[in-house]
Subunit: 492 residues, 2 copies
């Protein structure tokens, strides 16, 4: 393995970059800020997509597709949204290239093809979608509209990191339209729950469900709900957001409907999304100094079988045995790889599949065959056991649940061990700056205070947890009264 080993403790950020590169997940492209998602990384993303897509459809949503481009005049309509995204928009101004007369063999944007109206490459699709919904909605009978889209979006970024912050990224964006405020609020919360369930059950990442402070709210939303995860370095990562958009977009795009009493009213809206950022969370929560650690539910390969042999005859005998095991494991729903490459030694293969995070490795040599057994290694605990052949399939299948659960428990323990209540400014600073964790602290509710705390410590309010208990206290910075604690942390 050409895995340049940097330990998490030495340099977490470099460890992450190396891991993404060496496990063949993604790389930087020739286009500033844009990434190439490599086949192994994309296979994990596909597993995420499939599960999320199923969950969206199970909750009544359908997929559709809206244009990549947003005419500037539509983009401008919802003012806060436009203001929020204007600084990071890629702008198409021409629709043709022509030979550059001053440089043989080179092309230039043809000045004659200048667009009358510039097109924005979508940073998010509320504008183009609500302009479309306008024509779809006349009466309450046309509601609700429950649509999701899988798409690429572009938000120009100066400082990028693979998966975590890239100019182009892949995501899904749900856009729903409702007849009542209550229904829209219910949808907002329902999709937050879907995200939380996905994060915890499939990614094995515990999350805090909460609502954002006004400063951190989506541009154009009345309220932004979110799920926040803790990475191994104690920093927070926003893993998904669900926005209650009120009637803001309906008003901007003049989308009214006739209710049951023939009264005209503006339509209520939500939008919600998760992106390839989730790949970053998955990597940062579970992986270790040997490489990626994947929860079985999102692993493209569940089991790798490595033959340990000297002669070709030995390999043949092992291969025969493996064929049966592989078939049985596949019948049990597992994806199995038999790594019979003759170009690499077992030790090399062990390291490679560890790097790639395959949950279980089975090694089989001539002596194992004699003993009618195999060596089973878990990626998460790095423990090995010799298991009798008769019990092998049941054992390995059982390990999948065990590993999935263990990864979740481990992440939960880490989060608990790095979450503290802060009751004084000194304690607060110590937590976010030295102990590197989540600080549960009282806050006076003002954006100004939040901004000051951010300037002083780089910590932001990740969310006001939905399950936060009423508790009288005083703001960590201003001492003003507060009724519950919020989560502060440094964040990706």
């Amino acid at each position: 393995m050409a895995f340049e080993k940097v330990k998490r403790e030495e340099n977490y950020s470099e460890w992450y970059n190396n891991l993404v590169k060496n496990a063949d997940l993604a790389e930087h492209s020739a286009v500033k800020g844009c990434m190439v998602i490599k086949p192994y990384g994309f296979a994990i993303w596909e597993k995420m997509q499939q599960q999320l897509d199923k969950m969206f459809k199970d909750t009544g949503h359908q997929n559709a597709y809206f244009p990549l481009f947003v005419p500037k005049s539509l983009f401008e309509k919802e003012e806060k949204n436009a203001e929020g995204f204007a600084k990071e928009c890629a702008v198409v101004t021409h629709y043709r290239l022509k030979a550059d007369p001053s440089k043989p063999g080179r092309l230039m944007a043809d000045p004659d093809s200048k667009l009358e109206e510039e097109l924005v490459v979508r940073p998010t699709s509320e504008a183009i979608i609500w302009n479309t919904y306008k024509n779809w909605i006349q009466s309450y009978r046309d509601l609700p509209i429950l649509i999701n889209q899988w798409a690429n979006v572009v938000r120009w970024e100066m400082r990028t990191r693979l998966f975590l912050r890239t100019a182009e990224f892949l995501w899904q964006e749900g856009h729903t339209a409702h007849a009542t405020k209550e229904e829209a609020l219910e949808e907002t919360r329902k999709m937050l729950d879907v995200y939380a369930e996905f994060a915890e059950e499939h990614m094995a990442v515990p999350v805090i469900k909460g609502v954002k402070s006004e400063n951190e709210r989506f541009a154009g939303a009345d309220d932004t709900y979110c799920i926040e995860g803790m990475m191994q370095d104690g920093k927070a990562l926003q893993m998904g957001t669900s926005h209650f958009l009120g009637q803001n977009f309906a008003k901007a795009f003049d989308v009214k409907f006739q209710d049951r009493n023939s009264k005209l009213d503006y339509v209520w809206a939500t939008s919600w999304g998760v992106s390839t950022r989730l790949m970053g969370a998955l990597i940062m929560v579970h992986s270790d100094d040997e490489g990626l650690v994947l929860p079985p539910k999102l692993a493209p390969i569940h089991v790798v079988i490595v033959p340990v042999y000297k002669t070709e005859e030995e390999l043949n005998t092992i291969s025969e045995k493996v064929a049966g095991i592989k078939k049985e494991l596949e019948k049990a729903g597992l994806s199995v790889k038999f790594d019979n490459r003759d170009t690499h030694k077992p030790g090399f293969k062990f390291a490679e599949w560890e790097l790639k995070g395959v949950p279980v490795r089975i090694a089989i040599g001539p002596r194992d065959l004699q003993n009618n057994a195999a060596e089973v290694a878990r990626r998460d605990t790095k423990t090995k056991e010799v298991i009798g052949m008769d019990n092998l399939v049941a054992h390995v299948t059982g390990l999948m649940d065990e590993i999935q659960q263990n990864l979740f428990n481990r992440a939960m323990e880490l989060r608990s061990s790095k979450t503290w209540k802060a009751d004084s400014w000194e304690e607060f600073v110590d937590i976010v700056e030295n102990r590197n964790g989540f600080a549960l602290a009282h806050w006076d509710g003002s954006g100004e205070t939040e901004e000051k705390i951010k300037e002083m410590t780089k910590a932001t309010i990740r969310c006001i947890p939905l399950d936060a208990q009423e508790e009288a206290g005083s703001c960590i910075l201003t001492g003003k009264p507060s009724s519950r604690r919020v989560v502060f942390a440094k964040a990706y």
Copy 2:
């Protein structure tokens, strides 16, 4: 139904536009040339994607994702490719908007954010991908690379038609790299076969496999293979292409590898793609004056069950019976919709589901219940039969295969009835201009002749069929010798 009925015979083009709109498949968007794919249309596209994706993976390909943007300097590198696409490229020139000082509330591209190098929105991804492969390939051990990408692409079009020709469309593009010419050629042909199998087995559309003339070749390819289908109006539609790219892109991007004998050579390449255009083919081949007709293998809903009732009590009794039938049909792998809306009469529902192309409709009324039977209607033949309940599930399941096969046969018959050999210029003109079909004719092999024929008749060479038999003849226009017939037709 608000289905504005225009018959195919009256105005094929208007019939198509109405159908796409009324069956809720797609619509034009606020962005010139870009479409919105509506949920029902997108559900059909998803079925296509799933099947194709499976076929790609079964033939050893993996998915990945490459950037949306191509820096101009990379786009220029393969000259023929650049020349071929330059006239239809959307060009990004700025990365930020700012408040327009002269127009309150409006935005403008910020002049300070002008890019040093323009970015082309990918019209196809050979350039960005081969620039990436350069770093992935050193030796024959790194080959082959077999990658596919599902993506959106943009080719600026002045005259657009939903699904058939839009500025932005969705597609998949395979990009493979090989050590030998033979292997690359084999891949090119293999993927052509995959496309043909998909078209015939799943879309129920018979296709001619062939190779394009030089005039119609993909810009940058040494050879372009294609599948061509015939629409009901006798025009051809190119449904998929598979390109043998030779070493053109390897040379343009300097991608060399060390072969088994340590000799350096340029890598051999293929690329292949199908797009949302296939939706256009599917619609135009099978549908009729009542609306869409879907082959069961691509139908989002296989069976719709419509209750025929007067009282709520009747509806309750029917619903109870339907629950069992629905469950059984679903167990047999079918997707079933019970349309129990109380806002519409059965006749309205029948027309709506006909419009949407659902292969089988089951209607159940009180008398049917008494007789322990149901009325089963086929969308393709519009025939109805009363089927006993005991036999219902087996009958309907069997109908799926029958309908799939019937649609293919019908399309094949249409194609046969509209394909003629042309042995004189008069006959040729009559076929392509009056009889509206495919003309099998001799051609002298020159691009000049092809161009002249196109100017005179608007017919182009669709392909030189792979199974064309050697046959001495003389060119339909010039009388020069020719050794086999090619397919001429007007095309979409």
